[in-house]
Symmetry: C2
Subunit: 345 residues, 2 copies
């Protein structure tokens, strides 16, 4: 007997792609967006899975993302390649530029990709994993909405500013980390508020800059970065490199532009790709084999590598399919049938 | 009346340079090493000031650094420039390559510098500040000695792995952070041990991987990274990018090579330089002016920028000179008079 709640990754991909094309998104962009959403669901990253569809549809309904934007590649032959998302989603822009970025990194050792003017909702591990498949190490970062205060401050000037890194491995999933530089996600504070529970110490300050465990006061104040002043410094670096340096929005400007936090942020993104083979060449060593010495030693002592749980979920999903709840399936049906009207209601 | 304990930065520079040339270090290298040591003292970074002279002399006495090494620049016209320190100090190698790195970054947008086979004792802010003077943003990182366990582990596989970032500002000291990715310095644990005081929770685990506040157990076990699993991920990235990727020692190999922790580590280093003007060009915005919006807003709410205290100390030292204790002055006299015999004794 077929189990209606279990879908293959491909079947789910087709469904999500259809939702986006029916919502007016051009086919190539719908495919790119659906691919990262299904990847999130497949990896059991529920916060970046099909849960994101509604948010994307709302931005489309609000006219704050350009559904038929065709990403425009600008490659002047330098080490910096640019792709203008033209107000569309970041994902098709990244895929438009991926091959050029990888080729330039292989040719010169390292190259950077500037993504301009994009609607950004996806995790950054997609980009660094794609580049790891190409044999490249990479860093990816972007601003977001300014909810986070710098260490010692009280005003939210920084975004949750994610930072991701990928490193290729032979015969194994790549080494990948991808995390917010805030200590927690804003959604987690909201969940505590709804449950009437205090938040852990160190998550946030109130509007006077005093440490608070009251989720209301935290939402009214500012979140904090992970790792104290060191995390705050890294978050500031993300603002400077992927906001100011690109001439794109920093987190405060992104929030002002959208006029509220109901919609996903629009800003730029920075990806730096490095070819370990070029960097190691003169040493005569195999950089990937050298990296394995460390990575296997981390695993051998029982410590978990970042993304390990995600990769295990992926392996299960590719083998057994993705299980969705009745509610989730009903929502997919509704989005497919109603398009943007489903969120305008 | 002249105050004998106060030296101008230039006077101290001459004294330190003399100590190194008398210890057999070639003039250009002695000058580069003295420059960073005096900069540390000037900025009131006592742990990277004249305190470091003794360690450097000990490595020289042990024959573990090549005193007359002439750094060799390798520039194949790619985005990766290499300099082989040839077993000498890292500082002259960096200065040998600085102009080529800056020129390549301006030309292509970003460039990387690989420093090979160097004795590394200095803070990384020197490099990123020098590049900020050249109008460039930069990242600098290197492995060290493996004293730090990955999150969830117990074996020291990671170094204290410093990470530094610099961003140029107009008419102000640059935005600079430079920190160990370990939660504390190993020396701080040693100081607690000598004082018979427990270390704070979260600094270390014992050899069984259990959290400990006992400094003896900590030194016998492993230190921890800042920021939990996120800091551990960043430290792992530093090992991969500035160790494995370059085909140079990672922290464990560096420790094995020196055969103990008494001497400074030998390994490689990675510097990535980015030209904000190239990255921002198509936006029509001034990236430095955009960055100021964030940096001045951080200061305006009373939060401190990283390095602020260091820059204040610098301004004072340049105006009033550097004050040394009698003991420090006596040590300089001894090093100058006795050369390597001062540490061999």
């Amino acid at each position: 007997m077929a189990e209606p709640n279990i879908l293959s990754c491909d079947a789910l991909l087709t469904r999500v792609e259809t939702i986006f094309t029916r919502a007016g998104v051009r086919r190539e962009s719908a495919e790119a967006v659906a691919r990262v959403i299904v990847a999130g669901e497949r990896d059991n990253c529920k916060s970046h899975g099909i849960y994101r569809i509604e948010g994307c549809l709302r931005v489309l309904a609000a006219g704050k993302v350009v559904p038929d934007a065709v990403p425009e590649l600008h490659d002047a032959g330098k080490s910096v390649i640019e792709v203008d998302a033209k107000g569309g989603f970041s994902n098709p822009a990244f895929y438009t530029a991926r091959a050029a970025l990888a080729a330039r990194a292989r040719e010169t050792g390292l190259a950077a990709l500037v993504i301009r003017d994009c609607l950004h909702f996806s995790a950054l591990w997609h980009d660094v994993e794609a580049l790891a498949e190409d044999g490249l190490a990479s860093l990816s970062m972007c601003p977001s909405y300014s909810f986070v205060a710098p260490a010692g401050g009280k005003e939210p000037l920084l975004g949750t500013n994610p930072l991701a890194f990928g490193w290729p491995r032979k015969g194994a999933h790549p080494y990948v980390f991808d995390f917010a530089t805030s200590v927690a996600a804003r959604g987690e504070i909201e969940l505590h508020r709804r449950a009437g529970k205090p938040i852990p110490e160190g998550w946030a300050v109130d509007r006077d800059g005093k440490p608070t465990t009251d989720p209301e006061a935290a939402l009214d104040g500012a979140m904090l970065t992970f790792g104290g002043h060191k995390g705050s410094a890294i978050s500031t670096m993300v603002e400077l490199l992927s906001g100011a340096m690109l001439g794109e929005f920093m987190s405060k400007e992104a929030l002002d532009f959208m006029g509220g936090t109901d919609l996903l942020p629009r800003h730029g993104a920075l990806v730096i790709a490095l070819d370990p083979q070029v960097f190691a060449a003169r040493s005569g060593r195999d950089p990937i084999a050298e990296g394995e010495k460390l990575l296997t030693a981390i695993g051998a002592q029982g410590a978990r590598l970042p993304s390990e749980r995600r990769f295990a979920a992926r392996d299960r999903a590719l083998r057994d399919g993705i299980t969705l709840s009745d509610t989730e399936l009903a929502q997919l049906d509704r989005f497919e049938a109603m398009g943007l009207a489903a969120v305008a209601a």
